[in-house]
Amino acid sequence: MRYGIRKGMTMIITILMVSLFVFIAFSVIPGDPATQMLGTNATSEKVNALREQMGLNRPLIIRYFQWVHDFVTGNMGVSYSYHMPVKTLLAEKLPITLTLSLLSFLMILLLSVPLGIITAKYYDRYFAKLFDIINQLFMAIPPFFTGILLTYLFGLLLRAFTPGGFVSYKSNFGAFLAYMFFPCLSIALPKAAMSMRMLKTSVLSESKLDYVRTAYSRGNKTDQVLYRHVLRNALLPVITFLGMTLADIVAGSIVIEQVFSIPGFGRLLISSIANRDYPVAQAIIAIIAGIVVVINFMVDILYPLIDPRVKQHENQ
């Protein structure tokens, strides 16, 4: 319990620091938001009135707390480009990016865990060595190039999907999920390769420890030792990595959305930065950063459930 509270406090402090950083970063950007909203032809009286209304004349720290309050209560400002509330704009995009991230994560798990265990179990066989080489190659391919290769192979040559033919989840959920398959695969392949290698290395190094020899000497079979004893300990570094991966996927989806023309958070973020639509950019960055911090917290909480030594060590 104490461990959880301490990690929770750390998470809150990190969220406050991250939000302060995001707020300050977007507050020091040259250019006046009131002028940007009204246009350069607006009179100075109008601009001043809007500045007053937006609270821009108040001290920075007061504006920060106001921003946090507004953000938590769902008031994220108005987009300069779309002239609509940022909240409404983001509400449509969030399910798309979340689906992309979660499906990619699921693919990473489905690919890396079984393959990692198999290649560790049969580490001296030729196929395991071949997997090592393939793995190394996949790790070096950036997700956006994987996306381009998949688009060419499955989209243009084999016609398994229509490149750029995104279907909204509102109109046809099945077609939406089908379109998401290849973008998710692009994100998942390099990460799955990394996590598979990590699991393999972790299982192999655990297998050399004394408790494994003891388990064998008590008459346990290979599978029993592997699944009951080794895997539980070997998974700890992998879970840390997967936690970091999930955070990376959320950020990595920004690029993949661009490759596959998916109208999610990423595309909106890029266009908002290019068009200097800062309320939108600020909100998206704050949300993604918040998601990342919460994921890190969840990974921290998960540790002691798998390895009680972590909790003991932390409490000392």
Binding site: P142, D248, V255
Partner: protein, 268 residues
């Protein structure tokens, strides 16, 4: 690090890197064609003896642009890591050596920044400074500072109470001298390994940012920007994307293999 400990990964990584470095030099000395010269008659021309990788949508020689692109990517990765290492070492050395409340505050802030995915943080700085080659170098450099600071800090914390440090302290050496003449050289092993990983990450991050149109701006060339251009012509000129992508993969692979090999040698 002894030569006999070198493994296959080290050889392949080093050969690839030397090859790429030769291409960088080639790009500096001169390219076969002017990388910015357009020729409408050669639009999306296929590979031939004259243009070994073909021509892009403006009839520019792709091979010449790849040479310039590798040079740009390399320069940005180098600049990024220099900024990261310089400021990271400074912060890490001070916090690791002195400890105390400055260390606590700076490291909490450091951790908060590290919890940001690097591409997202780079985007924040790009929003602040605008797009362009120098902007992306500075943005990514700032992004890299916290991780270098953490690495150097932990090395300094390990060394600050060692006997050799206590000896020079007793001999009356100043803190700055102890930090940068005595302790800093002992961090080189960890720092070199981190630099290779940092270089790899910088190449990936630059490519992603330029691919998004927020890094290097046309008519300059970078591998990410070229790949982004090539994507639009994937059906009519697939080799354009393929060649640029393969060069990028080889660049990343060379650093990845080297970093793997070095960590294997250190942990052997």
């Amino acid at each position: 690090m002894k030569i006999n400990k070198m493994n296959g990964k080290m050889y392949i990584g080093a050969i690839l890197l030397i090859l790429i470095f030769l291409f960088v030099l080639w790009g500096i000395i001169g390219t076969p064609y002017d990388p910015k010269a357009m020729d409408a008659s050669m639009r999306l021309a296929k590979a031939s003896s004259k243009h070994i990788m073909g021509c892009d949508q403006f009839g520019r020689d792709i091979f010449s642009r790849v040479l310039i692109g590798i040079r740009t990517t390399f320069t940005i990765a180098l600049g990024t890591n220099l900024i990261g290492v310089f400021f990271g070492t400074l912060i890490g050395a001070l916090t690791g050596y002195y400890g105390g409340w400055i260390d606590q505050i700076l490291m909490r802030f450091n951790d908060a920044i590290l919890s940001f995915p690097s591409i997202l943080l780079a985007l924040v700085f790009i929003a602040l400074m605008g797009c362009g080659t120098y902007q992306i170098m500075i943005a990514m450099g700032i992004v890299f500072v916290p991780s270098y600071a953490r690495i150097v800090r932990s090395e300094f914390m390990k060394c600050r109470n060692r006997e050799y440090v206590q000896s020079v302290r007793l001999m009356g050496a100043s803190d700055l001298r102890i930090m940068f003449i005595h302790i800093f050289p002992n961090t080189r092993q960890t720092l070199i390994a981190s630099l290779i990983i940092g270089f790899n990450n910088a190449v990936l991050c630059e490519a992603a940012m330029s691919f998004l149109g927020l890094g290097v701006q046309p008519p300059d060339a970078s591998l990410g920007l070229m790949l982004s251009d090539a994507q639009a012509f994937l059906f009519s000129a697939p080799l354009y994307a393929l060649t640029v992508g393969i060069v990028m993969v080889l660049l990343i692979l060379s650093f990845a293999l080297l970093s793997d090999a070095i960590s294997e040698v250190y942990h052997a």
